[in-house]
């Protein structure tokens, strides 16, 4: 009854064991009950999400401001979007930021997860503490960190005599993004951490015992056993994390308002102004482009990790 490695891998594209021991490909009848399980979600979802999405995308081909009279204008919004330097800059910034943050978040969360599932003191207490960032509302986080970066950190920098730290990095167009990465990571790590802990705890102890017997050191165990076994969870965290950070909005608004200047203006910020500024249709085109790019990247990530998942 030992759990085999096969049961633990998380290749999303590999078909799992099928019901009734059916051979994949044969036409056994699907039990009606399964439809009952699936269809309510599917239908509600289509009505609540897909339908509005289609409508929203439709309006990207118009000049609607969200209400009132509108006209169909074809691809003008898309053409304009591609030649808009502000939009291009927001994409460059956001993608760069997301890539860095994904790395930071996953590295830290994974190491923390390893630590929090190992032999350390105050384990439960520490685990509870690390969830706090997830629970605090974004406004508070933005406010507190804004204060810290504007006042406390420069004070520290001055005391220690570090030049570039003595002024608020939020006011520095080249360094402001670092502050945003730190705060975003701070808030994102708990969620990622939870998933990694779940993943780590699903690895049975016998595997490590066997490795011990074979004489593998701790580091080797970490890289050759732990990492591959939680690979599926890594994939989930990276894909979702990247997508989440691409949508960064609350924290950026709270920390820098897109500044200094327009140095930290994210895609989501630009899109949301479309609501209030009468530029709805244009930003819907921007949002549609954004959606397509995000999906493409996610598919790319999935494809790249497909081969490595099967053990």
């Amino acid at each position: 009854m030992a759990t085999t490695l096969d049961d633990v891998e998380l290749d999303l594209t590999k078909p799992p064991a099928t019901a009734h021991g059916a051979v994949p490909g044969t036409r056994t009848k699907v039990e009606g009950i399964y439809y009952l399980f699936l269809l309510p979600s599917l239908i509600l979802f289509t009505l609540a999400i897909t339908l509005p999405a289609v409508i929203g995308i439709f309006f990207s081909f118009t000049n609607s401001i969200g209400f009132g009279d509108w006209e169909f204008v074809g691809f003008i919004n898309y053409i304009a979007a591609f030649s808009d330097p502000a939009i291009l800059q927001s994409y460059l910034f956001t993608f760069g930021f997301a890539a860095v943050t994904v790395l930071v978040v996953n590295a830290v969360a994974f190491l923390l997860a390893v630590g929090l599932t190992s032999r350390i003191r105050m384990k439960t207490g520490l685990r509870s503490i690390f969830v706090i960032p997830m629970v605090i509302s974004g406004i508070v986080i933005a406010f507190v960190f804004n204060f810290l970066f504007s006042n406390s950190v420069p004070a520290l920098g001055q005391a220690l005599g570090i030049g570039w730290l003595s002024e608020s990095i939020l006011a520095n167009p080249d360094l402001a993004w670092i502050a945003i990465v730190i705060v975003t990571a701070w808030q994102a790590i708990p969620g990622t951490l939870l998933i990694y802990i779940a993943g780590l705890l699903s690895i049975p102890g016998d595997v490590y015992e066997a490795a011990d017997i074979d004489g593998a050191g701790k580091f080797a165990q970490l890289t050759r056993i732990t990492l591959p076994l939680v690979a599926g969870y890594v994939v989930i965290n990276v894909i979702l994390g990247f997508k989440g950070f691409l949508n960064a909005y609350d924290i950026i608004v709270g920390l820098t308002a897109g500044g200094p200047g327009t140095a930290t203006r994210s895609i989501a910020m630009t899109i949301v102004t479309g609501f209030t500024s009468g530029d709805y249709a244009y930003q819907m085109a921007n949002a549609t482009i954004f959606f397509l790019i995000t999906v493409a990247i996610a598919l790319l990530q999935l494809a790249l990790t497909r081969g490595r998942n099967v053990l």
Binding site: T18, A19, G21, Y34, A53, I55, I136
Partner: protein
């Protein structure tokens, strides 16, 4: 289905390990001594987490004058609950709290039920196109940016009389669906088919097999899904502000947004308000996290 004795023993061991008690010889991680460097490093990281919480706490208990004096790290002097009183009144706290609680509770329950059912159907019928494609369909939706959906959703909910907390609940569940289905299907793949098979041999229908066998086994993932759903719903500002048309039915985050404007510096009141809103979330997590961890080990060790 009886739990075998060996499993029970292992479960107890694992739980003890998690709770930090002395390890039995056969525990899973062979670091016999306490990992002090690791403990210290992690404790330091924990401090960074506690700082904002500290600031929130102290500011909430300050008087207005002291809260605005720019010194975020000072302790309240004098200690004052003015902020709480004013926040309570300004936001009509009990009503907003009740509404938010109902919406969140319904979201959590609805998400767990719908997602687990859908995931089960998908996982067990992977070879059928409808189910496999449903999976990818639900997943793709995770990438739709919210602004694309917002305005049409406002119109549709207004049309169908769902411009109230009920509509918000439904939308919250739908937004959580993709992620929850992803988690549940991943977890379902680690539940061996033999369990269901033996249940069927004993005469159980699929319905019974799901509710009496699979669903209990999904508990750890249900808890995880539940926590994410809880937090997403409890803290959500955007959607209730757009969808709920009657201001007396608004949720807590929206009602608190009156503190958010750039012109207002009533820090003690706003932080008191945020604290009152955060407390339930923290309590819920602390309450469920023990259950989550125990459940996860049970699920993992049952192997």
């Amino acid at each position: 289905m009886s739990v075998q004795p060996a499993l029970v023993v292992e479960t107890i061991e694992a739980t003890e390990v998690l709770e930090g008690r002395a390890p039995r010889p056969a525990n899973r991680f062979r670091m016999e001594r306490v990992n002090w460097p690791g403990t210290i490093i992690i404790a330091l990281c924990a401090v960074t987490v506690l700082i904002p919480l500290y600031v929130t706490l102290t500011t909430a208990f300050k008087t207005q004058a002291q809260a605005a004096d720019g010194n975020a790290f000072s302790l309240p002097a004098p200690f004052s609950v003015d902020g709480f009183v004013e926040a309570w009144n300004l936001t009509n706290f009990p009503v907003a709290f009740a509404i938010t609680t109902l919406v969140t509770a319904a979201t959590v329950a609805g998400t767990i039920l719908l997602a687990s059912m859908a995931s089960f159907a998908i996982a067990r019928n992977w070879e059928r196109k409808l189910f496999r494609w449903s999976f990818y369909y639900l997943l793709m939706a995770m990438f739709i940016p919210f602004p694309v959906l917002a305005l049409p959703q406002i119109q549709l909910t207004g049309l169908t009389g769902l411009d109230n907390p009920v509509g918000v609940t439904i939308l919250h569940i739908m937004f959580q669906l993709s992620f929850s289905v992803l988690l549940f299907t991943a977890f379902l793949r680690s539940i061996p088919l033999e369990l269901e098979e033996s249940a069927r041999i004993d005469g159980a229908s699929t319905w019974q097999a799901f509710w009496q066998l699979i669903f209990p086994l999904l508990a750890p993932m249900s808890a995880t899904v539940g926590i994410f759903a809880f937090l997403a719903s409890w803290n959500d500002f955007m959607m209730p502000s757009l969808i709920i048309s009657d201001p007396s039915q608004q949720t807590l985050p929206v009602v608190q947004s009156i503190f958010q404007t750039q012109f207002s510096n009533n820090y003690n009141v706003s932080f008191a308000s945020y604290l009152m809103a955060m407390a339930p979330a923290i309590i819920v997590y602390l309450f469920t996290q023990r259950w989550v961890m125990e459940g996860v080990t049970q699920g993992a060790v049952k192997g």
